[in-house]
Amino acid sequence: MALIAAEHLDVRHGRTQVLHDVSVRIDGGEIVTLVGPNGSGKSTLLRCLIGAQRPTKGRILKAAGLRIGYVPQKLHIDPTLPLTVRRFLDLPTRVGTAEAEAALDEAGAGHVMGRQMADLSGGQFQRVLLARAILSRPDILMLDEPTQGLDQPGSAAFYQSLEEIRARLGCAILMVSHDLHVVMSASDRVVCLNGHVCCEGHPAMVSAAPAYRELFGTGTRGALALYRHDHDHADHAAHHHHHHGEEA
């Protein structure tokens, strides 16, 4: 049974068509990763799913009483609102202190419990966001670039704990990530987005698909290891000019 599904979504901002005829569905207990180049509409799709962005066309179907744990890509907390990390974890629903401590510890941010949210470092903030999303006992976790700003042990630990979180909470996970080589193996299903759904399916299938290779090149595993080689500028610029279908 689908927990949440988007059907034939169109989203436009003025003249810019951001999403075109996008349909996705997430079933209970699935780990689905959304990949796609910058500006391909991944965050927009997530915001449509939680109801924060109204699509121009199409509709969103949600299971009744669906609890969503959401980690946004950007969150600006105004320092005029005094808010300790502990209190932030209580929003919107209160959680026990033991539970909150455990979740923070698990996210590697146990020692910031008493700090103000506005004072946290980038990585500490991200860890608290992750802890909060999990604490809400969601039916589905929606994570927009969950490892941004995390240090390397932190993001390794995050990906390692994904399955454990799913097992413990029994929830589905929909995440956006640019760590292609990792998520390809950590997810049950990959949706490759570029304004429209380019390809979708089992990770192995997707990484073999021509549309995917056109977007990301072939050597995904080694992509970041290409350092210190002399290269021709025009050559690497070609990597990221694939933005088809963005302007209407």
């Binding site: 924060a52 969503i68 959401y70 969150l75 907390i77 320092p79 929003l91 809400s136």
Partner: protein
């Protein structure tokens, strides 16, 4: 026969207003709505003008126009205008349009502000009931909707993901504020209400580590300012409104000097 004394009634009225204003004032500070009190006061003038033109009761006119202003602020901020700018536009727009409309209607010209301002020393028993009843309603609604109000203040997206409707929170807050300001202006005066809305909450920010702490501190500082202001007014034999504001501003100055905000 406590309520027989006008000082006692003034004290009770001040405390009641301080409690409602302290609670709502925190949201005013968090959401950058400091202009709300003045905007409502200005809109009230338009309300009076309209009531006079149509022969309806003045209080009704004020409430309706203040409510309409709250809805307009809501609509403008939903469309992406910064809330302080929207309030500024509406404050001046309401005043300008109100005065312009008055000039166009026939009949004797009146100074509209004369209708507007109460004085806390003249509060009667009925007013006290109104204030405390209103404060109780505000406290109840804020308490019931606390997670919604807080989460949608923090981030509308997080509120939506949590299954709440942040627009509902914004709307509720705007209407509560408009109601409180519109009523209290007529009972205790504009200066007292708008000042008690902002100054105690701003002073409380220097003390608080959590939203609840700030709300409590704002109520506490407001109550102290009300009672202290009354005491100061008695001692100096001056108006209660200015004395109360003086005490509140003093508390703000001391707390700010004592402690940098960010070290909270």
């Amino acid at each position: 026969m406590l309520l027989d004394s006008f000082l006692m009634r003034a004290a009770l009225a001040g405390v009641g207003v301080a409690l409602a204003a302290g609670l709502l004032g925190c949201f005013v500070v968090w959401r950058r709505m400091a202009y709300f009190g003045d905007a409502t006061a200005h809109a009230s003038i338009l309300g009076i003008a309209l009531s006079l033109a149509f022969g309806t009761p003045v209080t009704l006119g004020i409430l309706l126009v203040a409510g309409a202003m709250a809805l307009l602020v809501f609509a403008l901020t939903e469309r992406g205008h910064a809330v302080d700018t929207a309030l500024g536009v509406l404050a001046h727009g309401a005043l300008g349009v109100g005065l312009f409309a008055v000039a166009l209607t026939p009949g004797p010209r009146v100074n509209l502000e004369a209708f507007l301002f109460g004085d806390v020393l003249t509060v009667g028993r009925g007013d006290l009931a109104l204030i405390w009843g209103g404060a109780a309603v505000v406290a109840f609604l804020v308490w019931r909707n606390w997670p919604l109000l807080l989460t949608s203040t923090l981030s509308p997206d997080l509120a939506r993901a949590g299954g709440m409707d942040p627009s509902r929170g914004t709307l509720l807050l705007s209407l509560l504020l408009a109601g409180v300001v519109a009523v209290a202006i007529q009972v205790v005066g504009a200066l007292l209400v708008t000042a008690l809305l902002i100054i105690p909450a701003a002073a409380a920010r220097t003390l608080a580590r959590t939203p609840e702490g700030m709300a409590l501190a704002a109520c506490g500082i407001g109550v102290l300012a009300s009672l202290g202001g009354l005491g100061l007014a008695v001692a100096a034999d001056s108006g209660v409104g200015p004395a109360t504001v003086t005490v509140a501003a003093g508390a703000f100055a001391i707390l700010t000097a004592a402690r940098r905000v960010r070290q909270g």
